[in-house]
């Protein structure tokens, strides 16, 4: 269950705010209030003191009153606003841990970790690849072996009689590491500590290294590509074996390590987009939201999401076959300079390139979890015109995703489909606009819309361009 959804209204509780039907109390309301009272009376707290917190608009869940008074207050004044979750009457507060009201949790949450592993490997295990599966039985390839190992870890409790599984414990610890930026020595220490706390016969990982081994099947791929120190070319594909840059003749490696490995000057880190998008579709809480843009309806002329916009509709109109499948993904791409070591001392700016799916509803779209780094362009200088060189892997993947697509398993409908991806637009500040579009945003012709029709002129004294009197 997704954490951001906690505040949405439960449709089953809409009756709470439909107290009056015409002139009189509505029958549904009376019946449901009775239900509410019986629910509240069944809780431990009531058994103890025989009184309830009154949730009417006047008392606001503060004073304890007896059952009849509470009923009377509710008939008179109704429920306090936004009290969809009865936290004061024994319902648990919904949190990340996913305890919650309802049937939803009960269905899914038998062993969430096991589900997660199956989720992660769903494309591989899906019916389309049935043949491949048969083969696996004969000769377990490395992939399958890892999968088996993960399944075992998901089933295995941390120690005999423990409710938490090993995989869950380990995943939580890694999550903490990411969240609070723990150094790996701290994780080592915590893991050892946990191992000592647990009873002797436990399987907890000793250190960070073992944790990584346990989680090895779940991570998403990334590749490092060596780059010419001046940024003229990538040592990629055809040029992978070259030792010097074919443009500026600069060497590829800076030195040789003690073990005899060659160490490159610069490395571009590339995180393929496809697997990340696939991961969205195999996650139970996210997959249904990926078609939100198709399902919502908005009155004509109102815009509150990119899917209401002309640009989106125009793309759909031009490529009907692409628009047919609502699960196809539209992406935005953003890039900006970023200095990881602060602004003082040695200046170093790297350029991350980030993509975001616009399929998601407004309350999920552009959340941190859904921004995927696609590229990390190394510094220390601004790539300027060579940005295009670095972008090559991303563009190649995007055009493949557009023409061929990627077979993806959608867990919400339990089907395979071919996911295609379009890049809707780029987002960047004004200098980066120039780098992305190729129209340099400086000088007399800086404005990318007016182009050569601009009426800007140069000021003699200030020695600057001025766009004075261009708007009449």
């Amino acid at each position: 269950m997704c954490p951001v959804l906690c505040h949405t209204m439960d449709p089953n509780r809409a009756w709470m705010y439909n107290r009056v039907d015409g002139k009189y109390l509505s029958k549904v309301f009376v019946a449901k209030v009775n239900e509410f009272i019986t629910f509240a009376c069944s809780q431990e707290e009531f058994q103890r003191c025989q009184k309830l917190k009154c949730p009417c608009t006047k008392c606001r869940n503060k004073p304890y009153r007896d059952v009849d008074t509470v009923k009377l207050h509710l008939y008179q004044w109704g429920f306090v606003a936004h009290y969809y979750r009865w936290v004061h009457h024994g319902e648990p507060f919904l949190e990340y841990e996913g305890a919650g009201t309802s049937s939803r949790t009960a269905q899914v949450m038998e062993n969430p970790m096991r589900d997660m592993v199956v989720d992660a490997f769903a494309p591989m295990m899906s019916p389309l690849n049935a043949e491949a599966m048969n083969n696996e039985e004969q000769e377990p390839i490395a992939e399958a072996k890892r999968f088996m190992q993960l399944l075992q870890a998901a089933e295995r409790p941390l120690y005999e009689g423990c409710e938490m599984s090993l995989l869950k414990a380990v995943a939580r610890l890694t999550n903490l590491k990411c969240e609070y930026n723990l150094p790996h020595r701290a994780v080592d220490a915590v893991a050892t500590f946990m191992k000592e706390i647990c009873p002797d016969t436990n399987d907890m990982a000793k250190n960070y290294y073992e944790i990584k081994k346990l989680l090895a099947g779940l991570e998403l791929p990334h590749t490092k590509i060596d780059v010419c120190p001046n940024g003229c070319m990538l040592f990629w594909k055809d040029n992978e074996t070259l030792d010097t840059c074919s443009v500026c003749n600069e060497g590829r490696y800076s030195r040789v390590s003690k073990e005899g490995r060659k160490i490159p000057h610069k490395q571009l880190i590339y995180f393929p987009i496809g697997p990340r998008l696939q991961r969205l579709y195999v996650t139970k809480s996210i997959a249904p939201h990926m078609t939100w843009h198709h399902e919502h309806n908005r009155p004509a002329g109102v815009m509150a999401h990119p899917s209401d916009s002309d640009a989106w509709k125009h793309l759909d109109a031009c490529f009907p076959s692409f628009a047919e499948e609502p699960r196809n993904v539209r992406l935005g791409l953003c890039t900006d300079g970023f200095s990881p070591f602060g602004h003082y001392g040695q200046t170093y700016s790297c350029w991350p390139v980030i993509v975001t799916p616009y399929n998601l509803p407004p309350w999920l779209c552009k959340k941190r979890q859904f921004m995927f780094i696609a590229l990390l362009i190394p510094g220390p200088r601004n790539p300027k015109g060579n940005l295009d060189i670095y972008l090559q892997p991303v563009i190649e993947e995007l055009s493949n995703l557009w023409t061929d697509g990627l077979i993806t398993y959608d867990i919400s409908r339990r089907q395979n489909f071919v996911m295609k991806v379009a890049l809707l637009w780029t987002v960047s500040d004004f200098p980066a606009y120039g780098m992305l579009s190729g129209w340099m945003t400086s000088g007399k012709l800086a404005c990318p819309y007016c182009m050569e029709h601009t009426k800007s002129f140069r000021l003699a004294n200030a020695n600057k361009q001025s766009w004075f009197d261009c708007h009449r």
Binding site: L220, A304, M371, I395, D429, F430, A462, K464, W467
Partner: protein
């Protein structure tokens, strides 16, 4: 098209009437026709011919390799966040007369006298008692005096926002110089949209205050999370007039490209939808979070953790 400003010879560029049409906007196909011939970045050919004269293309961008790129209505977005911030900074630096940053200095006044008809603001040469000559700038209506600045700063210090709405603006106030400093882009956003009309209401002359208020209102409407097409059309019509009114008040040096770009923003909104999906606040916030990003670069070992960040969401949810 037949606005009274178009025939005005004194308020804008001196002795010039305006008869031309707004520049045409090109479709994706037209842009492609122009760009297709230019070399790509991998060719390493340098800047193409006539660069900076008849066009500003440096190369054929790699995005044109995407087969659908030329059909898109909007390929690159102007970032509203940065434009708003830069416009605001220009205004506040000029109005508060911040040394080195104001656009109302001696040079700009000299430029003003060559391009505009505002004789009262022209630089005068005055001889002092010792006989040496000195250039003096007459005070402009859009600049606050030190006392007025103090009143403004006092007021900003006393402003309180509801919780979580904005940062504490009082911290940006420097009472000694009666100026503002270290404003973050979100501070500028809030000041531009909410405080600007109130702040200058009694301090600036009505015509200046009015146009600044209109500009502030423009940005506020533009940044709405839910927009109606009719409203956007209205914005598109208004912004040209607002910029013209600004031109009647401020000197030519004030209008660099950032003051010009707002004129194209309503069109982008009309095509691309609400700005909150196309601006950089979310990304900048992402960059600033150490747990999401910073450690990635500093510790090479941890790179793997960004790679599994998709996984880390999942484990939190379940």
């Amino acid at each position: 098209m037949d606005h009274i400003f178009r025939r005005n010879k004194s308020a804008f560029y001196k002795n010039r009437e305006e008869h031309s049409q707004p520049p045409p906007t090109l479709t994706g196909e037209q842009v492609w026709n122009r760009v297709a011939l230019f070399p790509k970045a991998r060719d390493h050919k340098g800047k193409p011919q006539d660069y900076g004269k008849s066009h500003n293309w440096t190369r054929c961008s790699i995005f044109w390799e995407l087969p659908y790129w030329s059909t898109l209505l909007i390929r690159h977005n102007l970032d509203v966040m940065h434009i708003e911030k830069n416009v605001f900074e220009q205004i506040i630096n000029t109005v508060l007369n911040v040394k080195g940053k104001t656009k109302d200095d001696l040079k700009s006044r000299k430029d003003m006298s060559t391009h505009c008809k505002r004789r009262r603001l022209d630089v005068r040469v005055v001889g002092d008692a010792e006989g040496s000559m000195r250039e003096v700038m007459p005070p402009a209506p859009y600049v606050l005096s030190k006392d007025q600045r103090k009143i403004l700063c006092e007021w900003i210090r006393s402003v309180k926002f509801s919780d979580g709405y904005a940062s504490n603006l009082g911290r940006c106030v420097d009472m000694k110089n009666a100026s503002l400093h270290n404003m973050k882009s979100h501070d500028c956003h809030v000041f531009m949209q909410r405080l600007l009309p109130l702040a200058f209401r009694d301090l600036l002359p009505t015509n200046v205050w009015k146009v600044l208020t209109e500009l502030s209102q423009f940005f506020r409407d533009l940044c709405a999370s839910k927009l109606h097409v009719d409203d956007v059309n209205r914005l598109e019509k208004n912004i040209a007039e607002i910029l013209c009114k600004l031109e009647r008040v401020f000197p030519p040096a004030f209008f660099n490209v950032m003051e010009h770009l707002p004129i194209h923003l309503p069109r982008e909104v009309k095509i691309g939808g609400p700005v909150q999906y196309r601006w950089m606040y979310d990304y900048e916030r992402y960059f600033s979070k150490p747990q999401s990003f910073k450690f990635l670069v500093s510790y090479r070992n941890n790179i793997i953790y960004i790679c599994i960040s998709g996984f880390s969401i999942i484990s939190r949810e379940k």
